[in-house]
Symmetry: C2
Subunit: 274 residues, 2 copies
């Protein structure tokens, strides 16, 4: 009997939904050794049969039933997969049935719609937002800023760019960033433009030693990466946030997903992923 648990993530589309929920569930079993197998685009009975053979063969060899995480919509393909010698966790079917019953409608039962293009009205909004963010990254005149839903303020390497990209790609939010650099050690202030767009501002701060570590990876042994410089910049920017009443988040132990969700929630931004 194998000591690792095998999970198959199976979908008739990209499998992103299966991977996403599956990953979330598995964080609750972090002590287990897992062997994850991804099988997207299982969109025909033939592919499903071949996959069932693979699963059964593995199940027999290892002496342990694999677990299937699936988001297959098509009934025939789903039933094919359900016949395997595996634990079948269907992330779709039961919920679809409950929604159909509650809303008294029939679902459309179309394959792989979730992360497709034509059936995703938010898609072009998200790509437009992404292109916007790329065009504004660390550059830009005030004209581009006026289109922003949010302008992130933080010192260099506090995570503005990944956050902007995530906000754009997932929420379709037009996110720009305004970098602060303080080579001369002077106090930070808001430009007149930023003052006039105060409601769009969101600050990011970070523990100085964490910032130092990130900057050191980039430019070791520079003043820029020194603890003294990091401490000074962080102190300046936090004073700015407090003085100008700019909401801000400490990103030190937070993921881009958490930071982005917090920003969207706190500023009440319209989510174009919905």
């Amino acid at each position: 009997m194998s000591d690792s648990k095998t999970i198959f993530f199976i979908s008739d589309g990209t499998g992103i939904t299966a991977a996403n929920l599956g990953h979330s569930l598995l964080t609750q079993f972090s002590d287990l050794k897992l062997n994850k197998q991804f099988r997207p685009f299982i969109d025909s009975v033939e592919k499903a049969r071949a996959l069932v053979e693979e699963i059964n063969s593995l199940s027999t060899q290892s002496g342990e039933k694999p677990v299937l995480f699936t988001t297959v919509v098509n009934d025939t393909i789903r039933q094919e997969l359900a016949q395997s010698q595996a634990i079948f966790l269907d992330f779709f079917h039961g919920f679809i049935e409950q929604l159909e019953k509650h809303w008294q409608v029939h679902s459309s039962a179309r394959i792989g719609r979730a992360h497709g293009l034509e059936d995703n009205p938010s898609y072009s909004a998200r790509i437009d937002a992404l292109n916007y963010t790329l065009s504004t990254d660390d550059g830009l005149g005030a004209q581009l800023y006026t289109e922003a839903d949010v302008i992130l303020i933080g010192v260099s390497r506090s995570g503005k760019t990944p956050t902007c990209l995530y906000l754009a790609m997932h929420f379709g939010v037009y996110a720009a960033n305004y970098p602060y650099t303080a080579d001369d050690g002077s106090e930070f202030g808001l430009t007149p433009f930023l003052k006039n767009n105060r409601s769009k501002l969101f600050g990011m701060t970070i523990a100085p030693d964490h910032l130092q570590a990130i900057r050191t990876k980039r430019k070791a042994n520079t003043d820029y990466a020194s603890l003294r410089c990091c401490e000074q910049e962080i102190q300046n920017i936090e004073e700015l946030f407090l003085r100008e009443k700019i909401p801000f988040i400490d990103v030190t132990r937070r993921s881009v997903e958490e930071i982005s969700t917090t920003i969207v929630t706190q500023l009440g931004l319209a989510r174009r992923d919905a």
Copy 2:
């Protein structure tokens, strides 16, 4: 009775998993008018009670029970939410129980782990990949290319950059891109470096009229955005793909998610999201 259906996406963490599966389920009900409400970070009984009051009040007013999509881990919070006058679809609990039973272990029942930082070993890999992609975007010497897991080849505006960013952010794949421009109309070829890294190459093509529309948005009335130029470049690049046996994908009607998943699957790239 209201004609739109209200859905609450509720989580004790970011709610990204609830939104993701919820969105996927709802693509099967695309004819309905939906009112989506996002409530992340419901991580205390007090917040859950306040939310239940809001839900009940809405339910009474509208005469229609809202639907709750939840990924709450904590039992007490979950039970609080389950008492609302709403249809309660729990994306977590039932599956966790099934996995506990099958694997004969107890889950850790910790809140909001799914998109957090400390419990997500793949997180820094994904951020590193994102920084890599940002550093290589449309620039770069051969040295940076050697770190790439995949090098995307395509003409300007065929979607290389969004795809690279998605590959990095979601799969932790080191994705670089190699832009082809053909101002002189000459045939495309592979540089010696690309020839030596053939296994990393993946091509992107697109319908010329679609490319023309994208380029026109950027630079209207230029030769660059002319149909003639788009057709010529696409013909050149497809000939290159065929001549050099580079796998490629037509991105015309595909989302970044579909394109990225196809690339990862076809090249058999290691997914660092797992």
